[in-house]
């Protein structure tokens, strides 16, 4: 019975496919999984929008959506109907072809990222040998879509927003990759299923997730920062800073194309949370060995939603960064710490089992973070803000 609920979606897929002739079965199985992903994540997106608006409202001491349905829970349906029925306006001076292609490229690129995420035991669309590389390659092509949107709109706000977004995504892609590389170094594989399998064993009932190792903890911290910046979420939401850029690269999009961008952003957030879950939080494995009877996909999606909750929490808590702070943070803090983490992970790999590697790796990381934090605190630069350009 345990195995049945764990594998329920896999069994369902096999059951549906078994009605078809043998020649079509593998193609139909893939098609079915793709349809499941394409239906599931937009549904999750609808759920998350209302969850986010409610959560932010609660943080800001207001009610949030409360008119459509009980407690405003049907708000996403109203939003969906609105964006489908709105007029689709393309600016006269816009580059029509590129303007049309940008949201399409964005959504396609983001959806492809889900192909390699293991969402449960035996639940991965393509078990690719180079899964992590695939994910990062696809993520990198979403940047081009952002640029296409900003440039083709022929609007200064769009272009500025796109340039900011692309610069930010390139800057934070480096730490994102480097924090992922530590996991690859320890696991010895780029395949995401193997990375999950390497974390899915227990001692004393506790899991061997990478976040519970010194390098994994530091790596996850850096990954979380880079992932927040990569998905253009607050406090790194400069590309769409409403106070200065209207809405950034999608200023000139309306109706369903705007909805596609919105969808793309949330899906990117889901998939990057899913990747973080897979790399550091043990993917679909249970947090305690006695909880192994709970189906694996429940664990994956619980961890995913927990990450989404942290994203929303951060958005409600932190103010937006300035452009120079953003770049300084990426290149002067996150990147060096990721490089240090590479060395720590290498030491961890070659010191063998035992308590010594825990002591050495933790000591190096704690010393680095404490020294850096202490020196930053004592630089004496904390004080009233000075306006260099606007005096």
């Amino acid at each position: 019975m345990i195995g049945f609920f764990d594998q329920i979606f896999v069994l369902l897929q096999h059951w549906i496919v078994s009605f078809l002739p043998a020649a079509w079965q593998s193609a139909a199985g893939v098609l079915l999984a793709v349809v499941a992903i394409i239906c599931l994540f937009p549904a999750l997106f609808a759920l998350t929008t209302v969850f986010e608006r409610k959560g932010i409202a609660r943080i800001q001491n207001r009610l949030g959506p409360n008119r459509v349905g009980p407690y405003g829970l049907l708000q996403p349906i109203a939003d969906g109907i609105k964006s489908l029925t709105k007029e689709d306006i393309v600016p006269m001076s816009a580059d029509a072809a590129v303007h049309f292609l940008a949201p399409v490229v964005m959504v396609v690129a983001v959806f492809m990222g889900f192909a390699v995420l293991p969402m449960g035991r035996n639940m991965v669309l393509v078990d690719m040998d180079a899964g992590l590389l695939f994910y990062f390659a696809i993520g990198a092509s979403a940047e081009l879509a952002v640029f296409m949107a900003g440039w083709s709109s022929r609007n200064k706000y769009s272009l500025l927003g796109a340039m900011r977004a692309v610069a930010q995504m390139i800057s934070y892609e480096v730490p994102l990759l480097l924090s992922g590389v530590t996991v690859v170094m320890i696991t010895g594989s780029l395949s995401l299923t193997k990375i999950v399998a390497a974390q899915n064993h227990y001692s004393y009932g506790l899991p061997h997730w990478y976040i519970f190792t010194p390098w994994g903890c530091a790596g996850f911290l850096m990954y979380a920062i880079a992932a927040t910046a990569e998905s253009n979420r607050s406090p790194f939401d400069l590309p769409e800073g409403e106070s200065e850029l209207v809405a950034g690269y999608h200023t000139e999009y309306s109706g369903f194309k705007f909805a596609l961008f919105f969808l793309g952003e949330y899906l990117a957030m889901f998939s990057i949370s899913g990747l973080g879950t897979t790399l550091f939080l043990g993917g679909w494995s249970a947090p305690f060995s006695f909880l192994n009877w709970v189906p694996s996909w429940i664990w994956f999606f619980s961890k995913l939603m927990l990450s989404i909750f942290v994203f929303i929490w951060l958005r409600g808590t932190l103010p937006r960064l300035r452009q120079d702070q953003l770049m300084n943070f990426a290149w002067k803090f996150v990147l060096p710490m990721c490089l240090l983490n590479l060395f720590v992970a290498a030491a961890w790999r070659f010191m063998g089992d035992g308590w010594l590697r825990w002591v050495v790796c933790s000591a190096v990381l704690i010393a680095a973070y404490v020294t850096l934090g202490w020196s930053e605190m004592h630089r004496g630069k904390i004080g009233p803000r000075s306006y260099r350009y606007a005096e």
Partner: protein
């Protein structure tokens, strides 16, 4: 030579032609990224997954963006009035033909140098990784040093410019 090969080559060649012939520079850059994608998928259709995705990551994710940035930050994306075609196109044609001849010669030579392979070689990512940090570690390190030097150089150039402005 399957139908996939023909579709991919058609896309790649069309992209390359568009990259040369389109009037708007940004369109050319976007067409170039289509070429990069086509090449990546060609690699993948040859079972070279690693090379294919690395191609996407580096060329579409970084080089195409760099090209686009360079276009926007220098002359702007507006089409010049006097046309985009150089007057010395004949020289360019000769150079292109020369490069093509050399590459073709090298490729033809490699077919003779290698024994006729009957079975498709099985290369996994693990093999590529082992080869990179084992047998080919020196070239890898040299490339790494070169790139680091280039990056430090870029930083120094940027710092110098900033001080000059003050």
């Amino acid at each position: 030579m399957s139908i996939v090969f023909y579709v991919l080559t058609t896309i790649t060649v069309m992209g390359a032609l568009a990259a040369m012939l389109l009037k708007n520079t940004v369109h050319c850059a976007l067409a170039l990224s289509v070429v990069f994608a086509g090449l990546a998928f060609l690699f993948m259709s040859l079972d070279a997954q690693y090379a294919g995705w690395a191609q996407v990551l580096v060329y579409i994710g970084a080089v195409a963006i760099l090209v686009v940035f360079a276009i926007l930050l220098t002359k702007g994306s507006e089409t010049p009035k006097d046309g985009v075609f150089s007057r010395t196109w004949f020289v360019g044609l000769v150079i292109a033909a020369g490069v093509f001849a050399v590459l073709g010669w090298a490729v033809m030579g490699s077919m003779k140098a290698l024994p006729q392979l009957t079975a498709v070689p099985q290369v996994t990512n693990l093999d590529i990784g082992n080869a990179l940090v084992g047998r080919y570690v020196l070239p890898l390190e040299i490339v790494a040093v070169l790139l680091t030097a280039a990056m430090i150089g870029a930083v120094i150039v940027a710092i110098h410019e900033k001080e000059g402005q003050k």
